[in-house]
Amino acid sequence: MRRLMASAFAIALIIACSPIENAFSQNGKSGVTKEPARVNLPLKDGSVRFVVIGDTGSGANAQHEIAEVMLKYRQLFPFEFVLMMGDNLYGSESANDYKTKFEDIYKPLLDAKVKFYASLGNHDESNQRFYDHFNMNGNEYYSFKKGKVSFYALNSNYMEHKQVKWIEDELSKDNSEWKICFFHHPPYSSGKSHGSDKQLREVVEPIFVKHGVDVVFTGHEHFYERIKPQQGIHYFISGAGGKLRPGDVKASSLTEKSFDKDLSFMLVEIVDDQMHFQVISRTGATIDEGVLTTRESKLKATTK
């Protein structure tokens, strides 16, 4: 009898301590209250439209569920590409892992020719840079351009001298209207588990400020956070694309808006000097939205 009670207690303890994605999977799809998709973005012709997701590669049911919501939203907001904030594959990285933690989950998007641009996290091997669907072209850090927007993917897990020099050189030559950097570790964060990566910030932020970076997207923290603009830069954390750390945000003076109750992703649309964003949870609810302008247009507005 005692043994039975001890076993029951152990099972209860295991269930209580299970990660949230397991709780989701127990609930199954029916356990998630879905809300109708509602897009509050301008949907202007010729705009740059994309999604920001981070810390996705768990392969768990929760990742499938948030991917389904992304797909649903694509019918209303046809985004062209996806920025990945790293931790693209948790655990092993066999050929099968690429399939179960990425390809199977985003198959409808891949079939629709949506491009994924990855950055590397602390759970990602460097060899991911060769993977065709990550569009890294063999590089751990790289840039690409969409319309008037320049995107820079960095490897914050190994910010060596060469990379620092590369980003400084590239940004200094870039006259694009929008300069956006994305990488894994957040220079600012109100996360209890990790918090701001001050050592990274010390090195990259002066470069971003000097060369007019407008927006920085990161992950690592398994929640969503919009940071109050720092030195004219808008910082976002979108690291709940496959894993969640519920209750991990300790709202601080940095926080403009945060959400740590469910998985999430960001929809972004850039129209001229405005960046519109809408953040969607696993239930399909909008948890944050807004409009930003480029540093340059802000400067013009204040000098007028």
């Binding site: 655990g91 050929a95 460097s126 060769f130 190994y158 910010m159 060596e160 990790h194 990566d197 050592q199």
Partner: protein, 191 residues
């Protein structure tokens, strides 16, 4: 009187010059010694890189738009060939005692107070328990790769692109970034 003043001034200048010469001597000497230590370390790293490059060049190229099966197969084959070529490799072949002393002294000098606290937090928060700290063994895929802060990488000798520093606990590893093999390591590298 005038002569005495002149001789005192000359003596003072002489003593000052001697002191300056003595000051400059050891510091210049230690600087050149440090450089030689780092240069020798870099040469040993290059020797390894030369070996692994020769092996990789003989293998089929990994495309920049590879399929997962190709990435997995390439890594496995590369790992096996380098392990075979380095059978009997021992700890300390690259991290020799002089470079270990140099790195320990550099980190102790560069990271103090808050900086050291931040560095320790970054390095020690990572889940690296179970990583074998053994030469010629692969770094396990399912283990986290410790973020190497830019301030730390700026303090350490620069590595060729094929090589990476990684911390496992307080130990500093040299890891091949493509085949994932632990090429060498030094213990107690965190001040």
């Amino acid at each position: 009187m005038k002569k005495r003043i002149i001789s005192i001034i000359i003596s003072i200048i002489g003593v000052a010059a001697l002191c300056m010469a003595q000051d400059a001597g050891p510091s210049e000497k230690s600087k050149s010694e440090k450089s030689a230590t780092v240069v020798a370390f870099e040469d040993r790293v290059k020797q390894y890189v030369k070996l692994r490059e020769k092996i990789e060049e003989a293998m089929p190229n990994l495309s920049k738009e590879a399929k997962p099966e190709e990435i997995e197969a390439h890594k496995k084959a590369f790992q096996d060939k380098v392990r075979t070529a380095r059978v009997g490799a021992k700890p300390g072949e690259i991290f020799t005692p002089d470079i270990i002393s140099h790195i320990r002294a550099t980190l102790k000098r560069e990271f103090k107070g808050k900086d050291l606290k931040d560095l320790r937090e970054t390095v020690l928060e990572a889940e690296t328990k179970g990583v074998p700290v053994r030469v010629n063994y692969p770094y396990p895929q399912n283990k986290e790769l410790v973020e190497m802060p830019p301030t730390l990488l700026l303090a350490l000798p620069e590595l060729p692109k094929q090589m990476r520093y990684r911390y496992v606990g307080k130990h500093l590893l040299l890891v091949d970034r493509e085949n994932g093999l632990i090429v060498d390591y030094m213990v107690d590298a965190l001040p």
